[in-house]
Symmetry: C2
């Protein structure tokens, strides 16, 4: 419910031994751990506190309410996905068109892979607790990774200049849709390859379609 934002507080690792050290981080970590096991809908503040080994009320010194913790967890999970994506790209170095395309595909495949490996965290990242603002403004890591990958594809001549401005939106939609539908078992996992092929075709073509 509440719209207040999470207090920034000590981001740096506080020294251990002082009361708890860094309860905020600990709560976040364990919240994500429990969510990834049971889903957001089955998470309670008290569970998190218990897991961390702290009384239920302690959390209120770090988050105004449960919602704020969940929003922080959602944002954090989103960054986790970015890390996962970065790792998946590292096997494909170089500036060739081939390398750029392989990195691009790895980005999409890892997006879906993260969703499959961590379905509950993926669901958490989107929907009600989605931070929104920062991502809509293109400031999130996954978005930045996508922009960078498309820039490289463009530099390698794999994207038609007329299409480039719409590329992020198209790619994100198609991959996000694929991830969601595969998660819901509405599409087979194999569909992803077809989708990636189709995306590449769209990006490379001139952007003209028959008479309207």
């Amino acid at each position: 419910m509440s719209l207040t934002k999470v207090a920034p507080r000590s981001r740096a690792k506080a020294k251990e031994g002082y009361h708890h050290g860094d309860l905020e981080t600990a709560l976040l970590v364990h919240a994500k751990k429990l969510i990834s096991q049971n889903g957001v809908e089955n998470l309670s503040l008290r569970q998190v506190a218990a897991k961390v080994g702290v009384s239920p009320s302690a959390a209120y010194h770090h988050f105004p309410d449960k919602d704020a913790l969940l929003r922080a967890a959602a944002k954090s999970a989103f960054e986790d996905m970015a890390e996962f994506q970065v790792a998946s790209q590292q096997n494909f170095k170089g500036t060739s068109a081939l390398a750029a395309r392989k990195r691009f595909r790895a980005l999409g495949i890892s997006y879906v892979g993260f969703a499959q490996t961590n379905p509950h965290l993926f669901r958490l990242s989107f929907g009600p607790y989605c931070g929104g603002d920062e991502m809509a403004r293109g400031e999130s890591r996954p978005w930045q990774l996508l922009v960078a990958s498309l820039d490289q594809l463009m530099a390698a001549g794999e994207i038609h200049p007329k299409i480039r401005p719409h590329a992020e939106v198209l790619v994100w939609s198609a991959i996000h849709g694929a991830a969601t539908l595969i998660l819901d078992e509405l599409l087979p996992e194999a569909a992803l390859e077809s989708i990636l092929d189709a995306i590449e075709i769209s990006l490379k073509s001139s952007g003209k379609v028959g008479n309207k």
Copy 2:
């Protein structure tokens, strides 16, 4: 939790005046109504019963548990979307390529439109309570509408034969992703037009992409 399926029971409109008449339908209708207002996460069986004007335990004569009601509601909401889509297509009759394309776009636009008009019902249709089976097998109404629209597009020469087998999957992913991301305010509503353009391009091209 439970995996038991909803008892079929009297699908036909039972005569009013007998106890309740058709409590199963009434529960379903009011569950959807409440969900569309407050979201699934805020729905309780007791609320639904109260809204219908029946005791909380009455529901158990029609659904084994709350989960079963929610799954039935999810399925019903999905069919609602199909109705919404059908209505949106009716302005574009004819067998010309132009008409087929307009109907196709109307299908995508109405998908997103339904999501925006009924965000909670849209969210309900996918995710945890998604029936899965029937849709995965392509038996759901929205899927059938998509297949029909693509067949018409194909007949009108707007889809390259090599692409046709992958068309459903590509289109559904891209549109579903767009709907979800627009709902989460991660993409502007205007992005949909670009995406539809890109989809049409993909469908019409030959399916070949540079050396891999």
